[in-house]
Symmetry: C2
């Protein structure tokens, strides 16, 4: 299978295209998206939990009350009342005090990653990130030809001593430190409380802005809620990304990119104007109509946490029963994913082909690694399948792993 994009004879491509390759994994999984396959591969919310009736009510209200504005061009910065709501929501739930002028509404977190990269990264610039790291962020950085350096991370998140070493030895001062401090994608681990101050202080000491990506922070099933990393008093310059995708619905493509100073926020607005003018006036108002109703969002999040927590437990239980004793996995307190380390003899990318024959899918760890991949790792999603299917799927996975071990 040729995974490079085919050549485009009449078009002469920009040099960044050599860094922008279609994802091999995505292509493999696309060809096998049949309902018989139990998929732990995507990062999809459970569709049966979408508040479809509430969104329908919100759509009706938006079009009845404010239809012309919802269908017209809007400001690049975003819909004013939604930006105000985001500022209040971050104060209430993430300990982050910002003004609405620091908030830019974007088409999902991925656009926030793209705009941050567009404004900050020249070819060859350095970004530090946890290793392994979120694939979409790696793609966004690659599309501006940045060099990502992976920092050793463990079950408590990024290691401060490894971060200091990376900061001291980087060939140039890094432009960004990219982190998912809560329920990281792909590992599901969180940055431990006793590491937070060290990480934030190191970034400030070396003059490296933090990009905190926080799509899952509200999806906590055990342990104690923590404020956002960049709300620490030690934090200097930062960007923060939140989204409606995981707490409401990803199909609306509404997220928020927040900057620690207004000048940077204005730069991001200018970049977004050139990128797509603005995010849908209609979907921004839909989200606002939903979240403005007292208690509705919090009730929905409680429902999500209850179901996803149950599914996480079902997966942990099934892994215990079906995976060989040599396998290890993370025990996330929230989010959508956990991370499995198989015996080193197993290449998870090769295992995927076997697994698909047994009608179970996952994402091999390989593409998430910066530098040399640890090929015996894989990512499992537990939000998208029922607990019964989780049990069956993990049993199938266990059989495939045992067979691979011979």
């Amino acid at each position: 299978m040729n995974l490079l994009a085919p050549t485009t004879p009449g078009f002469r491509l920009a040099s960044r295209c050599s860094r922008l390759q279609p994802s091999a994994i995505r292509e493999i999984l696309k060809t096998t998206a049949s309902p018989e396959v139990i998929s732990f591969a995507g990062g999809l919310p459970a569709p049966e939990l979408f508040p479809v009736a509430e969104i329908a009510r919100a759509a009706e209200a938006v079009l009845a009350e404010d239809g012309a504005a919802a269908l017209q061009y809007g400001l690049t910065e975003g819909y004013g009342p939604l930006r105000e709501w985001v500022a209040g929501y971050l104060a209430d739930t993430a300990g982050l005090r910002v003004s609405p002028e620091q908030v830019l509404i974007v088409n999902g977190s991925q656009q926030g990653l793209d705009l941050a990269a567009k404004v900050l990264l020249d070819p060859g610039d350095i970004v530090l990130a946890e290793n392994p790291a979120y694939l979409g962020a790696l793609q966004a950085f690659a599309s501006y030809e940045a060099q990502v350096i992976g920092v050793h991370s463990d079950a408590q998140g990024i290691r401060p001593e490894a971060l200091r070493r990376a900061l001291e030895t980087a060939p140039r001062r890094p432009k960004l430190l990219y982190l998912i401090p809560q329920f990281q994608n792909p590992t599901g681990t969180s940055l431990a409380e006793d590491r937070r101050r060290a990480v934030v202080s190191l970034a400030a000491e070396f003059g490296v802005p933090i990009l905190e990506d926080d799509p899952y922070g509200r999806l906590r099933y055990s342990g104690v809620a923590l404020p956002s990393l960049v709300s620490s008093p030690e934090a200097a310059d930062w960007l923060y990304l939140g989204t409606a995708s995981k707490i409401l619905a990803p199909g609306l493509r509404v997220a928020w990119l927040v900057a620690s100073d207004r000048a940077m926020a204005e730069r991001l607005v200018t970049a977004k104007q050139a990128a797509d003018l603005h995010t849908s006036s209609f979907t921004q108002r839909l989200v606002w109509q939903h979240v403005r109703r007292p208690g509705l969002l919090e009730e929905h999040i409680r429902g999500l946490c209850s179901v996803y927590g149950w599914r996480r437990d079902a997966m942990l239980f099934a892994l215990e029963r079906h995976l060989p004793a040599e396998a290890r996995w993370t025990r996330p307190e929230g989010g959508l994913f956990l991370w499995v380390e198989l015996p080193p003899a197993i290449d998870a990318t090769k295992l995927l082909a076997e697994a698909l024959r047994e009608q179970v899918a996952f994402v091999p760890g390989e593409p998430f690694w910066i530098g040399t991949p640890r090929r015996h790792t894989l990512r499992l999603n537990f939000s998208n399948a029922s607990d019964e299917r989780i049990e069956v799927g993990v049993r199938r996975l266990g059989a495939v792993v045992r067979r691979a071990l011979g």
Copy 2:
């Protein structure tokens, strides 16, 4: 007024940011968006013509029939039935025969411009464009540090002999030829039929792909409909941009970028994946629910053409009555804009301050020019104001111009 974005002390910006400045004009106009001002400045469709009730019906149907998918993540390429509809629509209305696999759904045409630039343009690469040209396209090209060379254009569009000279004398082979062949923004002019073959053949001869931007093609109020430029048999490599913004509603942010070959379409998909994963699953389905109903879209376009054509005539009539004899303007057969050339003594950017005091707004020609601006030019929009307000606004404009002439 300081139009440069303020400095961002803790963030070190990418070099492209020096090319990405907030639009001076936009900032001036934003501060004066009061209802007393009669604005010919924006490019806004008439909000009173939005099919709000039909969109509400479509929203209800989407959520009732396909709610979970409308709220879930979707394919980067776009919603399948919408891509199929676009292929059929282009065959029916633009003489363009493409497969749905060549169609990428984007968040408005601006994102199409951004993705084309991202895939094709390295810093210093050359883009040829009509002069003056659409500001949003110039911003997209600038954000990838391309060099845009303006090609002399007149009331019949880009001049083939000027295009040949530009192709022969460009320091490097241009990566793109950017054109709005129908009802251009900002001038309202169209590429004359007897120039089309020459333009397309020159692009093919010199191996320069055409990017045809066609937001207004269906908004024709007089003259004979023409197929898309790139449907010419002489066309070699091309990209084509169409949009629901002007025929339905810009607030939905749904447009389509079509490539002449599938390999290029795949490259654009990969770039879009890194940019924002996909366009809203919900608004894509909304558009599809609307356009799939037989006759509805065509009836709506007929209504738009009737009102906008009337407004165009009102503006042409008012210009005749109120502008001094030395002024010249274009007589567009469609679209949203016309272009005024005042006596050379007048600087339209300075005139705008005077005009705003008299409660009328326009966009000075200056930012649309590539290279040396002709400062006595300005753009007027005729779609967003009623014919009565057009008469009053042009009368105010005429008074300001006469006063400036002394």
